[in-house]
């Protein structure tokens, strides 16, 4: 029953912080929740987490921090395009937790019967128009993505960042002329950081993660296109106790603080 108790405590903490809405309250409430985790019955073993590529840096920081709370718990990640991860799960890939970059891909996992309970939204992300440092292509806005002379990278339309890019381009009334469609957002981010692409539509958080190599151009329409990130424990999780502990750490603390620092909006 420790799992239920822990889940309750963290959910309660999350609800509290949502109700308060204050940033200062978050840490205190969640801190209290994590200290209620029973030390004698702490989750252990390996937890396999399938996560959207855009979560790479944040989740790696998360597992570093969780090592202190759960010393016996080892978190193994597989990062990739959400749609591809769901496809792997439906084919029987053994995993404990799934975190996707949009609700559409999570809905497919739910429909496939691999998800235990209701997925919870833990973060939101918006797109950024990213260019290499120095902006060699003189990109000024979304309209430049229609320029066939520029090297443009956009995600595949079926993966979440590609779907979001399409909605953003539709909202701006731009027909893009991409030169490559990447399988996940990190690939597009690397192409900009390497200077091989003059511009790419990637998540704000991925642009931030590239540091000085990437600049972003303000796109007013980006506020209209927001991706919700859901997380869920999987029905056939080999380590359900560990899975719930990790999922709760993602939706609660330290997940919220880490994701917020990376530029995600947290609910």
């Amino acid at each position: 029953m420790s799992r239920a108790r822990l889940a309750f405590a963290v959910t309660a903490a999350a609800l509290l912080t949502v109700a308060c809405g204050g940033d200062d309250g978050d840490d205190a409430a969640a801190g209290a929740a994590s200290t209620t985790a029973p030390a004698d019955d702490a989750p252990s073993g390996t937890v396999t987490v399938l996560a959207a590529a855009s979560l790479t840096e944040s989740f790696e920081t998360l597992s570093d921090q969780l090592r202190a709370t759960y010393p016996d718990l080892e978190i193994v990640y597989s990062f990739g395009p959400s749609s591809g991860l769901v496809e792997q799960l439906l084919a029987g890939a053994p995993a404990d937790v799934l975190a996707t970059a949009d609700t559409k891909t999570m809905d497919e996992a739910v429909a496939g019967g691999v998800v235990d309970g209701e997925p919870r939204i833990f973060a939101r992300n918006t797109l950024a128009l990213a260019v290499p440092a120095g902006n060699p292509g003189d990109v000024t806005g979304l309209a430049d993505l229609a320029n066939p002379d520029l090297r443009i990278a956009i995600c595949e339309p079926q993966v979440p960042c590609g779907g979001a890019a399409q909605r953003l381009l539709d909202a701006a009334g731009v027909t893009a002329a991409p030169d490559t469609l990447t399988t996940d957002v990190k690939e597009a981010a690397s192409l900009v950081a390497l200077g091989e692409a003059d511009a790419a539509l990637i998540y704000l958080t991925d642009a931030a993660a590239e540091g000085d190599a990437v600049e972003t151009i303000d796109v007013p329409e980006s506020e209209q296109v927001v991706n919700d990130y859901p997380v869920a424990v999987l029905t056939d999780a080999p380590n359900p106790d560990g899975a719930w502990a990790v999922a709760d750490a993602i939706t609660g603390e330290p997940g919220r603080s880490i994701l917020g620092e990376a530029g995600f909006l947290t609910p």
């Binding site: 591809g84 496809e87 079926q158 490559t180 469609l181 990447t182 091989e196």
Partner: protein
């Protein structure tokens, strides 16, 4: 043609691991065939995406094989027929892509021929030419991973060829170029053809270097293996299975053809 077919007492210690090995090699293909959406096969195979990828794959693999023949046969000749200093180092260098993960090749190509690469930066600044995301980049990636297959096959053929004909040609006054063209090349033609076919098949299946260096865009850079990868990541497993079957069919046909025509005859 074996003369010892009567001796069939195979020890279990050999038979069991052999059977396991065969299962590992064959089961994935059986699985694909079992899961194949046979009813949708015609419509998937004739869909625009698949036909576009198929056309691009056939064109790029064929051009890449042409480039590999033009450059690879002379390399094989240098390795087999000359006392070039550092020949074994050269052989090692040109065959490294055989064992290199193709994605490493893609990263390396990007660092050299990318817009900010060693050669690519100069190309871009001088001529405004940028290779990544072009069909030429696909061909370059395919040449990188597939040419070593041709070099190895042709060098092997050159080494086993009887050199006395070349010596005779030389004593009759033929220049070394004429000897190569009229004597050496016809003698090793089966090896050249086998190498070219292997090279073509490897180029057709190229994925890692292509996706890393050339990117993935329908009609320009998205070849059959990339289309299959996109399909599986987009949750479209039927298309991925059909494309996989198509590539298996091509590979098996080539292997059978090679065995019957060249390898078996040699």
């Amino acid at each position: 043609m074996s003369r010892r077919t009567a001796d069939l007492r195979v020890p279990a210690a050999l038979l069991i691991p052999a059977a396991l090995g065969v299962a590992i090699l064959v089961l994935p293909m059986v699985g694909l065939i079992a899961r194949a959406p046979w009813g949708d096969l015609p419509s998937i195979l004739t869909s625009d995406e698949v036909l576009t990828a198929l056309r691009l794959s056939l064109v790029t693999a064929t051009v890449a094989t042409g480039v590999a023949l033009v450059c690879g046969v002379p390399i094989a000749w240098l390795l087999a027929r000359t006392a070039l200093p550092g020949r074994s180092v050269l052989r090692g260098l040109v065959t490294v892509p055989l064992v290199l993960p193709p994605v490493v090749g893609g990263v390396a190509l990007l660092m050299v021929f990318g817009r900010r690469g060693l050669v690519g930066g100069w190309l871009y600044d001088t001529f405004g030419v940028s290779l990544p995301f072009t069909t030429e980049a696909v061909v370059l990636a395919q040449v990188f991973v597939a040419m070593p297959f041709l070099i190895v096959a042709v060098e092997g053929a050159l080494r086993t060829a009887d050199r006395r004909y070349e010596d005779v040609a030389a004593t009759l006054g033929a220049t070394s170029w004429t000897t190569f063209r009229r004597v050496t090349l016809p003698a090793v033609m089966p090896g050249v053809l086998a190498g070219a076919v292997l090279c073509w098949a490897r180029a057709l299946g190229e994925f890692g270097a292509t996706v890393t260096f050339a990117g993935s865009f329908p009609g320009t850079t998205r070849t059959l293996p990339l289309e299959a990868y996109v399909a599986i990541n987009a949750g479209d497993s039927d298309v991925a299975i059909v494309l996989s079957l198509l590539m298996i069919a091509v590979s098996v046909t080539i292997l059978i053809g090679l065995r019957e025509r060249w390898i078996g005859a040699a």
